[in-house]
Every structure is written in structure tokens, then in C-alpha cells.
């Protein structure tokens, strides 16, 4: 479909600093629309003009020549959003210091990552490309739209999405820095102090700049403070301009970060994984902190041993804005199924279950005014299934981003790669046994990844 043009074109496209986002128009006819926020509409049409939903209702007419999709017997839902993934980037961890607030995943976007196409094939239109969990303070993340086909990394960014940053608690930073490098943190006590020191440094840094700005008026020769990107980023968190997304498992460490945030008046806080979030759901709800969880992952390491598959249901029923994420290029392909598991484990309603993968992750990423539900005025990010998306037998048929059909099951051909990558032997055979024993979050945190993944047994 979108085969590589040639190197010249590639360079030409990359040279655009501000990407032109491709937008489309189309008419989806006669389906069951699951708006998620405003109920369902039977035998209804949905009109998309220039990348936005402009009309929803019966008997809609589009201008001549508009592409039409017959959705008779099909279900139309908002494009699925994954609040935690590592696809579309070619590096995950800057695992060199306990705090690397100065790095940004957005510098490492990879439009060639086939995982983006495969996520589209599961109805997923946007994801949160996150830094890994090797450091207590990881890097800034990037909210991407799945505009697979573009060769321009700039076009992957969801323009206007708020800044987010990855924090991490527990075993991963303890393992990488405490066990691995013999530096703090080796314990959950140490992890707390990384944040406190980081915020104290940022406050001092802001004060130094404020002082300088005042001095400058009186004394044009006043000495400028030294620029420090790490402190800058932490200061932006204190100012409320960056949302914290924190890798976490145990309830004690979740409460720890809640308390740190209380002390620094930080309001925008989302816990990631949050396996023991169910134990502190009242505290999370009272603070307004949100939670992004796995449907049923547990027991792959000790800090997730006391988990329950009812986590999402308990959090939801206690009033916590909850999403289900993948953290995996495999799981991202069936988040609709992961959401359905909350009906087995906790009997959530269809609307509650669908919210876990649409409007709720949109809220967590601060993009709910744009995506996450089917409403007039919102971006035309849409997934069309041949059955109810919470049924095991449902198969995604079309996935649409900004009104452009990016996945069409009837046109799926064997090889959807845009270009062979120099760093991967893609036509090789890989047996993917789910690596439950480690997080994808830790990729790149160890020099010898082969040893890390247990390849060398002897």
C-alpha cells in the first residue's frame, strides 16, 4: 500500500519542521454507533469532513465523490487509545541516571515501526509512546496518532497534545540503579527521595531565574543562572504543564507518590500499571489521580503477585478514571478484548468497559476534547467492527485516523512494512513467547539484552 518512494523523497519529507497532517472526508452508512459518552445510535450514519466528525444521524448525505463505507450490521466506535505503549519509537530507556527528565521520547519517533500498522488492525488510532521504567524519573513521552504510511516522524505527533513524563517506582529503578549500579535507589525509600530532590532542585532553579529576572531590570549585567534542562522539565511539572504518568505496582509506593504530589501541589497525575491500585482506590479517587492498568497481568514478578483481575472494576466503581493499556506491541492489537475481560471480572457495563479504552485514556493524556468518543466536532478517529467490539468473535474491519482509512481488513496484504530496517532482520522467524517475566518498559536498560531476556541459558 504505502511503499517506500525513494530516499530523496524521504529526506524531503523529513525536512519539513511542521508536519502537514493528512485529513480525509468520508461517509459511514447505516451502522450501530457506540458513542461511549452519549449512548448508542442504531442504523445511523456518520459524516466526516476534513478530518472531523461533522454530522451523526439518519439519512445523511455527503457531497458527490465522498468515499462511503457501508456499515450495515457493523459497529462503529471511537478509535481505541492506548495510554501506555512503546511502539513507534526506536529507543525506550535512557537508563544512565536515576533521573533523566532532560530526555524526550519525541526525539526518537520511528514511522517505519510495523507495530503501528498492527495496532491499527486492532482498532487503535492513538497511543502514548512512553519512556521506559529504568529510572525513577524517565524522559518525556509523546502522544502519537497512528498515521501509518507517513515517512515523516513529525506527522506521527498528535499536534497539540499536552506534555507528559514517565516516572517509575519499585523494582525496575531499584534493579537498574540499586542492584545494577550500586547507587540510590536500591529501595522504595530511595525512590521517594529521587522525586523530592528533583522537585526541590527545580524550585531552587525557578527561584534563581525569578531573582535574575528581577535583578536584570536594575542591573543589565546581572549573572544569568546556568541553563539546566532537567530542572526546567521538573519545574514545568510543578507549574502544571506536564502530566506525570507513573509506572507503579504496590499500594505503598502509589501512596508515596500521592503524598509527594500533595506536598508539591501537583494535580495532574496518572498511575500506570497500578496493579495494587484497587487497594487504594478511595485515596486515588479523592485526590483525582487516575489509573491505567492491565486487564489481567499478574505474577510475572513479585511486586505484581498480589494482583487481581478485578482491578479495573474496583477502581471504576470507586470513581477512579481508569484505562486499560497494553505496554506491548502484541496486546495493543486487542485492547477491545482486554476491556471485555472487565465484564467477566467485575461485570462492568458495555459503556464502562468501552470507556476504559477510549474516553478514559483520552482524559489521562489530556486529549479528551479531541478524541475518545464519537461526537460532532471531534477528530474522526474511528474503528469499525463486524460485531460488538466486546465480543470475542468481533473483528476490526476499518480503522480511520483524521478521516483517513489507515486499515482496511479487506485490503490487508501480507507485507505491510514501509521499508526494511537496518537494525532488524524482519523476514526472519521470531517466536514470540510473551515475556511476562520482564517489562517491555525495561528494554534497553541492560547492555546485553540477550542475557536480560534469558537467551543465554548456559
Amino acid at each position: 500500500m504505502f511503499k517506500i518512494l525513494n530516499i530523496f523523497n524521504l529526506l524531503f519529507l523529513v525536512s519539513f519542521a511542521q508536519a502537514q497532517v493528512t485529513k480525509g472526508s468520508l461517509l459511514i452508512k447505516n451502522g450501530t454507533i457506540l458513542t461511549v459518552t452519549k449512548g448508542n445510535m442504531e442504523n445511523a450514519d456518520l459524516l466526516v469532513e476534513n478530518g472531523k466528525i461533522t454530522k451523526m444521524g439518519k439519512g445523511l448525505v455527503a457531497p458527490a465523490g465522498t468515499q462511503t463505507i457501508d456499515a450495515t450490521g457493523k459497529f462503529i466506535m471511537p478509535g481505541i487509545i492506548d495510554a501506555h505503549s512503546h511502539i513507534g519509537i526506536d529507543v525506550v530507556n535512557e537508563a544512565s541516571r536515576p533521573s533523566t527528565a532532560d530526555v524526550w521520547v519525541g526525539d526518537a519517533l520511528d514511522p517505519l515501526d510495523l507495530s503501528v500498522y498492527r495496532a491499527l488492525a486492532g482498532g487503535v488510532t492513538a497511543s502514548h509512546a512512553m519512556h521506559g521504567s529504568a529510572n525513577a524519573v524517565g524522559g518525556e513521552c509523546e502522544t502519537i496518532k497512528h498515521r501509518y504510511g507517513t515517512l515523516n516522524p513529525e506527522e506521527m505527533r498528535m499536534e497539540g497534545a499536552p506534555r507528559t513524563i514517565k516516572f517509575a517506582l519499585g523494582e525496575n529503578p531499584m534493579r537498574v540503579h540499586g542492584e545494577g549500579n550500586r547507587i540510590v535507589p536500591a529501595t522504595r525509600m530511595g525512590v521517594e527521595q529521587i522525586f523530592r530532590k528533583g522537585f526541590e532542585d527545580a524550585k531552587a532553579y525557578m527561584a534563581a531565574w525569578d531573582l535574575y529576572e528581577k535583578e536584570k531590570v536594575k542591573n543589565p549585567a546581572a549573572l544569568k543562572p546556568v541553563y539546566n534542562k532537567r530542572h526546567e522539565t521538573m519545574a514545568e511539572i510543578l507549574k502544571g504543564n506536564i502530566i506525570i504518568h507513573c509506572h507503579s505496582y504496590r499500594s505503598d509506593e502509589i501512596l508515596m507518590l500521592l503524598n509527594v504530589c500533595k506536598d508539591y501541589q501537583i494535580k495532574r497525575l496518572v498511575f500506570q500499571h497500578t496493579n495494587e491500585g484497587f487497594k487504594v482506590a478511595p485515596e486515588l479517587a479523592a485526590y483525582g489521580a487516575m489509573a491505567s492498568v492491565f486487564a489481567d497481568w499478574w505474577a510475572y514478578k513479585f511486586e505484581v503477585y498480589y494482583s487481581t483481575a478485578y482491578n479495573a472494576a474496583i477502581l471504576t466503581k470507586n470513581g477512579v478514571v481508569t484505562s486499560i493499556n497494553s505496554d506491548s506491541e502484541e496486546y495493543i492489537r486487542h485492547l477491545y478484548h482486554e476491556a471485555a475481560k472487565t465484564q467477566r471480572y467485575g461485570s462492568l457495563s458495555d459503556e464502562e468497559a468501552l470507556a476504559l479504552i477510549t474516553i478514559n485514556p483520552a482524559k489521562q493524556l489530556g486529549i479528551d476534547q479531541r478524541v475518545g468518543s464519537l461526537e460532532v466536532g471531534k477528530d474522526a478517529d474511528i474503528a469499525i467492527f463486524d460485531g460488538h467490539p466486546l465480543s470475542i468473535y468481533a473483528v476490526p474491519q476499518f480503522t480511520i485516523v483524521d478521516g483517513v482509512v489507515r486499515f482496511n481488513r479487506s485490503k490487508d496484504a501480507a507485507d505491510q512494512r514501509l521499508q526494511a530496517s537496518a537494525t532488524r532482520a524482519e523476514t526472519g522467524f521470531f517466536l514470540h513467547k510473551e515475556q511476562h517475566n520482564h517489562d517491555r518498559c525495561l528494554e534497553g536498560a541492560f547492555e546485553n539484552t540477550a542475557t536480560f531476556f534469558g537467551l543465554e541459558r548456559e
Binding site: 484497587f278 487481581t308 467485575g346 470475542i392 512494512r417 526472519g428 522467524f429 517466536l431 539484552t449
Partner: protein, 432 residues
């Protein structure tokens, strides 16, 4: 009848959670009435199913309820056979990142005599977490070297190896293959080829030695003057050569699958099951021609090559099944074996018939393991390994209401459920 109703009420109360009580599995005579009975092998029947002495003693619309039976009204509910997972590490791996809780992988390439059932922790948290979702029987498979050990089929109720053993054992062979294990596996093609050749030579050397062991022990049986030193490795492989034990050949890459079929045919191995078989769809006709049954999975997985369609792992069981291969489905998981029905469901969504998908986790594995007289369908005389559900067991929304394993009614309780009950409305809540 009135007495029965009262009894049912008491019984139901006894099953539901009551403060301070430990829930235990019990045995008895049960009448499951007014149910839709999905037998799997003999169609759908409306009526009653009777369980007595651990077995299904009657089922149908015209069934007499034995006096003293515990009557469970299953109006609006469905009865299915319990599901069988044809390949797991459930019970032998507790927390996979902590190596001392992982008993699946013994040192050495040649350890066929290692018994997975020996290391099966019947009280592992994951056991009850698994069975409450209707998985009643699992194959416990050791992993690692060339001959990593002997797999056992177990029923997920009981406390000793004898109590859980479900009547099948098989020797595992990890057939030499050239596959990379992930993007991080940076071995060159030459290195892979060399390793494969070395492993194949090792396999053939072992086999030759085992054939010799068979000859010597046969001779020793006739001539007491011949003394044979203890050799548990060869003794176990000899059982395969003598046709007494099944060889479970794990193989995934298409060229390896073909090589494994040819190898097993050349060696005239009597009982062969192919496991894994991730690229079976590429060589489905050849597998069908061999007549070897297949246990494949996980199904909810990535394709094995980036150049393949995104849905090839989902579609694999259906393609093989349509080519005439006998296909059972496994999770190859440990703590999330409970997802077995969903793996079968994805197979059905992507090309396998719903009927075959259900069979692939019930009667087909029972047949492959030679226990179809006891498990895998609802028929008179079979063990009562059954689940009572609110609907299609492959659908996530469906709830399981009653569970019997090997004739025992098992409490629908697990740590995941206990945590739900404790924390849904936590006490103390926000304020103490």
C-alpha cells in the same frame, strides 16, 4: 421436591462466601436441572444432568432425579465440559522473574526422566485462579533442553500427584530449530545453522543410544546374566521407542515442522504429537498428510515474521483445521492459563468454526491424550468435569456459576476473587 428446593437453598448459601469459613471441594450426588446441555460430541440437549460418584450418570430431558440428590436449578444456564489446556507451566512456575520459584527448566539437554508432576504445586495461587474460569485439566510441560522432561495431564483439584494425575504422560522433545527468539536475538544465520546441526546430531546420537538401550534391555529380559546399568534417561526414551509413551515434539518454524515430521517418520515413532506449530499454516497440508495431531498456541500472539499478515497467529488453528489436521489449542502460559477460552475464541473469530474452536479445548485434547473415555465431553460414564455458565464459555462476558472437576464440586474462589470482595468497598474506607 420441596425438600429439594430447601436443600438447594442451604447448599447455595453454603457455597457463597460466609465470614471466617474456609471453602472446600466436596463430592456428592447432584442434579443440574432445567439446563441447556452442550455435550460437544452429541449435540445440544435440554434438561437435567446427574452427577453421582464423581461421574455423569444421566443426562437428557427425561431423567429421574435420584433421591437425596442436591438439586441445582440451572434455568437459563448452560452446561459445558470443563476445558483442557494442552500445554502450560501452571503449577511449576509461581513468579517467573524469581528463578527459585521456576521449576519448569532443569539443567542439561538430556533430562527426559524429569517429571513435571513432581514439581506441581497443587496449592499454587494460580491453580484456583485458573480453574474458576472453567479450565479443569491442564498438561504440565517442562521446558528447556533437547529432552527437558516428561509432561503430565492433571486435573485441577486435589493435593497429591496421585489425586491430580489425569491419565496421560508424554516425553517432550524440543526439536532442533533455527528460529531467532526475538528482535534482540542477534545470532548470525551461520551461527544458527551450526547450532541447529549440532542439536540435530545430538538428537540422532541420543536416539541411536536409546535404540541400543532397547536392544540390550530386551536381551537382558531374556537372559538374566546380562546386567544393564541404571540409565533413567535412556529408560524413558526407550518407552517412546517401544510405543508405550507419546513423544510431544515442540516445533514452530515451517521448515522445522517439516523436518520434525520427516524425522519422526524415519524413526518410526509410534505415538507423536506436534506442539507449538506456530507456522503450521505454511505447511498445513503436509501436517495433515502425516496424520500427526497438533497442540498449538498461544493463539493470541504476534505472527512469527514481520512480512506476514498481522492475523496469522489468530488464523493458524483454522487453516490447519480446514486442511484436515486434528487441532487442540493451548495457552503455553503459566499464571494466565485462564485465558484458554479466549485463545479458542480468537481462533474462531479468524477462521476456525465455533464448533471446532470449542472442541479444540475439550474433546480434541482429550482424544490426543487418550482420555476421551473420561474427559472432554458430556456423556454418561465420563468424569464430571463440567462448568455451568451463563452463556458461551468463549465470550468474556459469560460468568461461570458452578464448577465440577473430576467429580468434585469446587468452590468458585481464588485470591483474585477474595481481593475483589475485600476491596470493592474497602473497610475502613477513606476515613478510619
Amino acid at each position: 421436591m420441596k425438600i429439594n428446593v430447601v436443600f438447594t437453598l442451604i447448599f447455595t448459601l453454603a457455597l457463597t462466601h460466609s465470614f471466617g469459613q474456609v471453602k472446600k471441594s466436596t463430592k456428592g450426588t447432584f442434579a443440574l436441572t432445567n439446563a441447556t446441555i452442550e455435550t460437544v460430541t452429541k449435540g445440544t440437549v435440554s434438561g437435567t444432568l446427574i452427577i453421582s460418584e464423581g461421574k455423569i450418570t444421566a443426562l437428557g430431558s427425561n431423567v429421574t432425579i435420584p433421591s437425596g440428590a442436591n438439586v441445582i436449578d440451572c434455568k437459563g444456564m448452560f452446561i459445558y465440559p470443563g476445558m483442557i489446556d494442552g500445554g502450560t507451566q501452571l503449577g511449576i512456575v509461581e513468579v517467573s522473574s524469581i528463578s527459585l520459584t521456576d521449576d519448569s527448566d532443569e539443567l542439561g539437554e538430556l533430562t527426559p526422566h524429569m517429571e513435571a508432576i513432581t514439581a506441581f504445586n497443587t496449592s499454587a495461587t494460580a491453580v484456583s485462579v485458573t480453574r474458576v474460569d472453567g479450565i479443569t485439566t491442564t498438561l504440565v510441560v517442562p521446558q528447556g533442553g533437547l529432552f527437558p522432561g516428561t509432561a503430565s495431564l492433571v486435573n485441577l483439584v486435589g493435593y497429591t500427584p496421585d489425586q491430580i494425575y489425569a491419565g496421560f504422560k508424554g516425553v517432550v522433545l524440543n526439536f532442533p530449530g533455527a528460529g531467532r527468539r526475538g528482535f534482540w536475538d542477534r545470532r548470525t544465520d551461520e551461527e544458527l545453522k551450526k547450532e541447529e546441526e549440532k542439536a540435530l546430531k545430538q538428537l540422532n546420537d541420543v536416539w541411536t543410544e536409546a535404540l541400543y538401550y532397547v536392544q540390550v534391555t530386551d536381551a537382558a529380559a531374556k537372559d538374566p546374566s546380562i546386567k544393564v546399568a541404571s540409565n533413567p534417561e535412556m529408560a524413558r526414551i526407550a518407552e517412546v521407542i517401544r510405543g508405550k509413551m507419546t513423544l510431544l515434539i515442540e516445533t514452530n518454524k515451517s521448515s522445522d515442522i517439516e523436518a520434525a515430521i520427516k524425522w519422526a517418520q524415519d524413526k518410526k515413532v509410534a505415538k507423536v504429537v506436534l506442539t507449538g506449530v506456530a507456522e503450521g499454516w505454511r505447511v498445513a497440508d503436509k501436517i495433515a498428510k502425516s496424520g500427526f495431531p497438533v497442540i498449538t498456541g498461544p493463539i493470541i500472539a504476534l505472527p512469527t515474521r514481520e512480512s506476514d499478515n498481522y492475523d496469522k497467529a489468530y488464523a493458524n488453528p483454522g487453516i490447519m483445521s480446514k486442511a484436515g489436521v486434528k487441532v487442540a489449542i493451548r495457552t503455553n502460559d503459566q499464571e494466565n492459563v485462564r485465558n484458554l477460552p479466549f485463545h479458542a475464541g480468537f481462533a474462531a473469530a479468524y477462521g476456525m468454526s465455533k464448533e471446532d474452536a470449542l472442541k479444540s479445548v475439550t474433546i480434541v485434547p482429550a482424544e490426543i491424550f487418550g482420555v476421551a473415555d473420561k474427559l472432554g465431553s458430556l456423556e454418561v460414564g465420563k468424569l464430571a468435569s463440567i462448568m455451568v455458565t451463563t452463556g458461551d464459555p468463549l465470550e468474556p462476558k459469560t460468568q461461570i456459576k458452578y464448577l465440577f472437576i473430576d467429580g468434585w464440586i469446587v468452590p468458585l474462589d481464588s485470591r483474585h476473587i477474595q481481593l475483589y470482595e475485600e476491596f470493592l468497598n474497602r473497610s475502613p474506607g477513606l476515613k478510619k
